[in-house]
């Protein structure tokens, strides 16, 4: 069975509109992309959609009460809210350094959650 699906690539700010042709559940053609990222995105989005997740973590004795954090790599879309719940449980101690690992291998995704800035003590 041949099926067509349209997607918008979120790999970069261009936002190409992709038309993906699937035959028996396999991708046979990707149209509308302006670079290779679009083909990878289509593959990923259809079989294992993932997103970068950015949020904040509580900080003790920090210059601000929070430090921003993010997933080093895109995580499976269905796990986003579970990951957010994990992050909410954590509290770190200032100072925090940029790229410091806040949660290692979050929910066995193989992906770390890291800080996105330096945060000095209050």
């Amino acid at each position: 069975m041949v099926e067509k699906r349209t997607l918008i690539c979120v790999s970069c700010p261009v936002g190409c509109e992709l038309t993906v042709t699937l035959d028996e559940g396999k991708i046979v053609e990707v149209e509308g992309n302006s670079c290779k990222l679009g083909i990878d995105y289509a593959e990923q989005e259809i079989f294992d959609p993932r997103r970068m997740v950015a949020t904040t973590v509580k900080v003790k004795n920090g210059y601000h009460p929070l430090v921003p954090v993010y997933t080093e790599k895109p995580v499976p879309k269905p796990k986003i809210f579970d990951i957010l719940a994990e992050v909410r449980k954590v509290e770190v101690e200032a100072p925090v350094k940029v790229n410091q690992v806040i949660i290692e291998n979050v929910l066995d995704t193989g992906i770390n959650i890291i800080a996105s800035r330096d945060l000095p003590k209050a």
Binding site: I8, V10, R51, T56, Y63, H64, Y70, L84, V98, S116
Partner: protein, 425 residues
């Protein structure tokens, strides 16, 4: 007190445009570069943009705003860029003086050889788009809500309607959803998206947040706190279509309805603004109509991407450094004429040695004490004699002169001062 009162390049604002200008000005050879920031931290609005999507153009990476800022903060400090934090600039003059009020230093006056305006932009408010209704708490610009949530750790509300489909509004729809709020609706008065398509996909579509084009807020209800907003469809002339009204109960209305370049300081400095962009007219080096005043980033026109602001900041920083170096070179062409042994004074007190390439310069002097015999009037650079003349006598009551000629230019070119002396022969 500040360590210095004169800088090669002073940059107002430390967002992506300001930091890029600082880094590039240093690399281009500016000696003293100062960034003035009104907040207590460098980075500007990048610090509250915790979402990814920064750096694709410049680093070929997908970074959150704070990480992107951190790279430029680290680089500028490593290059020796100086900073003046918690300081609000009050006025910039056309001759490049800056008056500012600083938490640490009080009132400060700084002279810059070149200035980069990098104040960014402001969000349009409820008053600017005149949304009718009551005046309860709970109406925020999207950027204000972003600061509350991402930096201060406070939620603006629980049931939210967002007016406008600008990027900050879309980003905040997702962010508030992450933090447990319910985003009921995004309304856009235009028939198309104001922000980036990918933000529609990953901020609204991913979380089934409904977006309605050609819809706007007709009335805000609520005594102390927002209780509901009435939305309505509009026609091509933005007139409400009767019967399209819908009441949405909510406690918060976020506005993502456009950004305006922040140019109060530019205007005072005599910088001419383009009525279309709201920002200064600039040339390719980002120089405004006022010589030595440059502008870059959202203060010039509003960009979609911080990466492009950075690139504009590089141009402005380079232009400012080149301008400052030219002024510095001109300043070093002016050297003092020192009254040496037995000389009361010399006029002119300084000369522009470049002028000696093409024309004579006459030095007029008066001696301290009379010498009633043949006397040597001599000009030297501290080591070597440049020229001399012999007088039959010298007396304080009678002015003497000695002339520098174009052939002396080679001797004087490297001098940092010249001295006139009068001695018996």
């Amino acid at each position: 007190m500040l360590k210095k009162d004169t800088y090669d390049v002073v940059i107002i604002g430390s967002g992506p445009g300001g930091l890029a200008a600082a880094v590039e000005a240093k690399k281009e050879g500016a000696q003293d570069v100062l960034v003035i920031e009104r907040d207590t931290e460098l980075g500007g609005i990048l610090l509250q943009c915790i979402h990814n999507g920064f750096g694709a153009e410049i680093f070929n990476e997908d970074l959150p705003g704070p990480s992107y800022a951190q790279r430029y903060i680290d680089e500028s400090l490593a290059l020796g860029v100086e900073t003046l934090m918690d300081t609000i600039v009050l006025e910039v003059t056309p001759d490049r003086k800056i008056f500012a009020s600083s938490k640490l230093h009080g009132f400060v006056e700084i002279t810059a050889r070149a200035i980069v305006l990098a104040m960014g932009c402001r969000e349009r408010t409820r008053a600017m788009i005149q949304i009718p209704g009551m005046r309860p708490a709970g109406v925020y610009t999207a950027g204000t809500a972003q600061r509350f949530v991402n930096i201060e750790g406070k939620m603006p509300g629980e049931k939210v309607v967002i007016l406008g489909s600008g990027d900050i509004g879309l980003i905040m729809a997702r962010r508030l959803t992450f933090e447990g709020a319910k985003v009921e609706r995004v309304c856009e008065i235009l028939p198309y998206l104001s922000g980036l398509t990918r933000n529609y996909v990953q901020c609204l579509q991913d979380f089934d947040i409904p977006l309605q084009f050609r819809h706007t807020v007709k009335f805000i209800y609520g005594k102390d706190r927002v209780e509901a907003v009435e939305i309505a469809e509009v026609d091509d002339k933005w007139k409400y279509i009767p019967g399209s009204e819908e009441m949405i109960p909510c406690d918060t209305l976020l506005l993502s309805v456009g950004l305006i370049p922040e140019n109060e300081l530019s205007r005072q400095a005599g910088v001419e603004l383009d009525p279309i962009t709201g920002g200064p007219y600039v040339d390719e080096s980002r120089q405004t109509n006022v010589p030595g005043i440059f502008a870059a980033g959202n203060v010039v026109h509003v960009y979609d991407l911080a990466d492009w602001v950075t690139l504009a900041g590089y141009e402005a920083g380079k232009g400012a450094a080149r301008y400052a170096k030219a002024i510095r070179a001109r300043e070093s062409d002016h050297i003092p004429v020192i009254a040496g042994k037995n000389v009361h004074h010399v006029v002119p007190q300084t000369i522009n040695k470049r002028n000696l390439e093409n024309e004579e310069i006459e030095l007029q002097l008066r001696v301290l004490k009379p010498i009633e015999e043949r006397t040597l009037i001599e000009v030297h650079d501290g080591k070597n004699q440049i020229t001399r003349k012999v007088a039959r006598y010298v007396r304080p009551g009678e002015m003497n002169t000695i002339v520098l000629k174009p052939r002396h230019f080679a001797d004087i070119e490297k001098a940092s001062s010249i001295t006139v002396e009068v001695n018996p022969r």
